[in-house]
Subunit: 154 residues, 3 copies
């Protein structure tokens, strides 16, 4: 086993800073974690977001109009290198959401599936897909099923 420790640390930092930048309302910083043509799938109720610039706009809009405060906690980060410049990964996620227009807190219990590519200036997220085991008070009802996160290649 060659652990590729430095690459692994850099990739896990992408996962972690996604949460940190979301919860500190830094949409610009968050978008820079992704490749220019990244695809982000937050669930079957909405079309996948295509591209870093559209992601930046959507996230900034959500931070301004929907989410008063959030707290995203990932765990069980698992990275597999597929070749020198690409990797896949999964994590679990607990996400806490306080909405501007409601007193009901949204709790989400799920995870993310990731794809990563190494560009000339470092690793970036090229694909992010959100899955749920369950939720309570969350603003979306239908979600990708976490039980299928390892089968799903979509």
């Amino acid at each position: 086993m060659h652990a590729r420790t430095e690459d692994r640390i850099e990739i896990e930092s992408l996962m972690k800073r996604y949460c940190l930048f979301f919860d500190t309302k830094r949409a610009d910083d968050l978008a820079l974690l992704f490749t220019a043509d990244a695809v982000i799938d937050y669930g079957p109720e909405v079309e996948p977001i295509r591209g870093r610039e559209l992601l930046r706009e959507m996230v900034a809009s959500g931070m301004a109009t929907r989410f008063e405060s959030t707290n995203h906690q990932i765990s069980n980060e698992d990275v597999t290198f597929t070749d020198e410049n690409s990797a896949t990964g999964t994590s679990h996620l607990y996400a806490w959401h306080k909405y501007y227009d409601s007193e009901v807190i949204g709790h989400l219990y799920g995870g993310y599936r990731y794809r990563f590519v190494k560009e000339s200036n470092g690793w970036r997220i090229s694909d992010l897909k959100l899955y749920a085991s369950g939720s309570d008070g969350f603003h979306r009802k239908r979600m990708h099923d976490f039980r299928l996160i390892l089968e799903d290649q979509g």
Copy 2:
């Protein structure tokens, strides 16, 4: 300090994949994380499970009949090497459980104590013991006390 980074990554991956395989209902994959004679203690209400094959059967049964969906999130993973081919560890755990026969979600706040051994084909879990700080709606009432996780050598 010699960090033994590659061994550490492999051991932490065992902890993480236990959660991932549990929550994706992969009892066969989960059992392969353990040694053939591993001991798994889920609490004082049930006899410890002895052996990988019995664990596989018990977990498969639980996935089929009790747990409709689960989400296990470990954190604070801490590994100590006891010699070249063995290690101990602890983690915290939050586990979310949706049962087939109830609308009440089971929340568990606790942790695991682990023992690991390096076999010819890699590290395995030889001992797993579950502890709780507290719970809400969980299907077991008496649990090993997380406050004693560092004293307990049982």
Copy 3:
């Protein structure tokens, strides 16, 4: 990028053992994670705690009189080295609190900002500040705002 993996593992272990020693009521062990003159800021309702010895006393008192059982789970650990012997970091935090004098569980969703220094016998925490995204049933009402954790240099 030079990952400084061994230093990173040692620093992350400080973060993790803070949680483990808090939840196992080991105030002496917890205090030894800090420098002698460390500053710990648990929120604007109380004066920052100055020094390892005062921290030890405050934590031991809290464990004996306020907190019957706790469970601290950090995630998204992120460490940045500022020079050879110092580093900063952030993490997210979920903390579960059972109080001696109440049936209401306190849930805290937030994080910590850390400063670390390398002393002759290893890395220590020199500064710890607690932030909250939100809480439910928690014993403090006003908290430092997690959304500002990256701006705040206080």
